[in-house]
Symmetry: C2
Subunit: 145 residues, 2 copies
DNA sequence: GTATAACCCCGGTTCTCCACTTGGGATTGC
DNA sequence: GCAATCCCAAGTGGAGAACCGGGGTTATAC
C-alpha cells in the first residue's frame, strides 16, 4: 500500500470537494486541477474511478462538476486509496499462484503487515485530513509571526 | 512496502542459507536456485545486494558459495526487505519534494501507516520464518494422513 | 601451475505500469 | 444552438522489474 502520485492527487482533489461539501454546489475538474496543480486530464480519469466506486458523483453539462456522495467524516482514507490503487489486482495475484509452503508462509506475514497499515488508513477520514491540514496552517501562521 | 518477486526470492534463498547455518559450509547459487526454482543469474544479483549490506558473505573459488553473516534469529525480515527493495529511494523522495501543506499532512499519515507495517516486519526474524514453515509442513503432513 | 568452479561486473532485452496526453463524443444550462 | 462540462478510449514516453549473456577475477584441488 504505497503512496503513489495517483493516490495523492485523489486525496488532494477530495479535500477540495470536502471543503465544498456544505454549500452543495458541484466543483469542476478544472477548478480542482488549478488549485492543487494537478494535470486536469489526468485528474479526470481519477475522478472517473472514484465515481465508479461511489465516492463521488458527477453532474454533467454546463455548471456541472463533482460532489462527494457522503459526508467527509464517512469516507476513510483506506476506501479512497484501495479504490484508486485497485486492490483486486493483489487479490488475483494471491489466488492465482499455486504456492509452495515457503511462499505461503511469507505471504501470511505480508498479509499481516498489510493489515497493520490498512488499519491505520481506515482510522482516518477525509474530515480528519482536512482538520489536520487546518491545524498545520495555524501552526505555520504562528511561526511566521 | 509491497511483496515483490524480488523480495520473495531473497527470503527463500535466505531460508536455504539459514538451514545450512549450523554446519558452517557455504551454499552455492546453483544449489539455492535449483531448490527454490529461482533463475540463477537473477539470484546472483540479489545475493550480491545482500552481501553489500552485510546480511550474507561469500566465499570464492572451488567449493565456495554463500553463508549468513549472523545467526538466523538476528536477521529481521524488515532488514532483508529494505535492503532488497532499497529504502533510500523513498527517503530521497520525501526529502526532495518542496511540499504544500496538504501534501505534508498526507505524507505524515502515510509515514504512520508505513511504520505500522515495518513494525510487523521487524518483529519477525529469519528463524521465525523457518519455524513457521516447519510448523506448516507438520500440519500438511497430518492432513495428508 | 593449471584447470576448474565459483563469484563479480556490466550491459542489453522484454514486459508491465505509471503519469500523462490526445481526440473525439454525450449531456446540460442558458 | 452553442458553450461549458463530463465521458470514453486509445496512445506515448520513461522507469523499473525480471531476466539473459558475456567476459572477467579469484581461490581451491590436483
Amino acid at each position: 500500500m504505497e503512496l503513489s502520485c495517483k493516490s495523492e492527487y485523489a486525496l488532494l482533489a477530495l479535500l477540495e470537494l470536502a471543503a465544498q461539501f456544505n454549500c452543495g454546489e458541484p466543483l469542476q475538474i478544472r477548478q480542482i486541477a488549478k488549485r492543487q496543480e494537478i494535470p486536469d486530464r489526468y485528474l479526470e480519469q481519477l475522478l472517473a474511478t472514484l465515481r465508479r466506486s461511489g465516492i463521488v458523483r458527477s453532474q454533467r453539462g454546463a455548471k456541472g462538476g463533482y460532489l462527494l456522495t457522503r459526508e467527509p467524516w464517512k469516507i476513510t482514507l483506506l476506501e479512497i486509496v484501495s479504490c484508486i490503487e485497485g486492490l483486486d489486482k493483489r487479490q488475483a495475484e494471491v489466488n492465482s499462484a499455486p504456492r509452495t509452503v515457503e511462499g505461503n508462509v511469507v505471504l501470511d506475514i505480508w498479509q499481516e503487515a498489510r493489515e497493520a497499515s490498512e488499519t491505520i488508513l481506515k482510522s482516518y477520514t477525509l474530515q480528519d485530513l482536512a482538520d489536520r491540514r487546518d491545524a498545520q496552517r495555524q501552526l505555520d501562521l504562528m511561526y511566521y509571526i
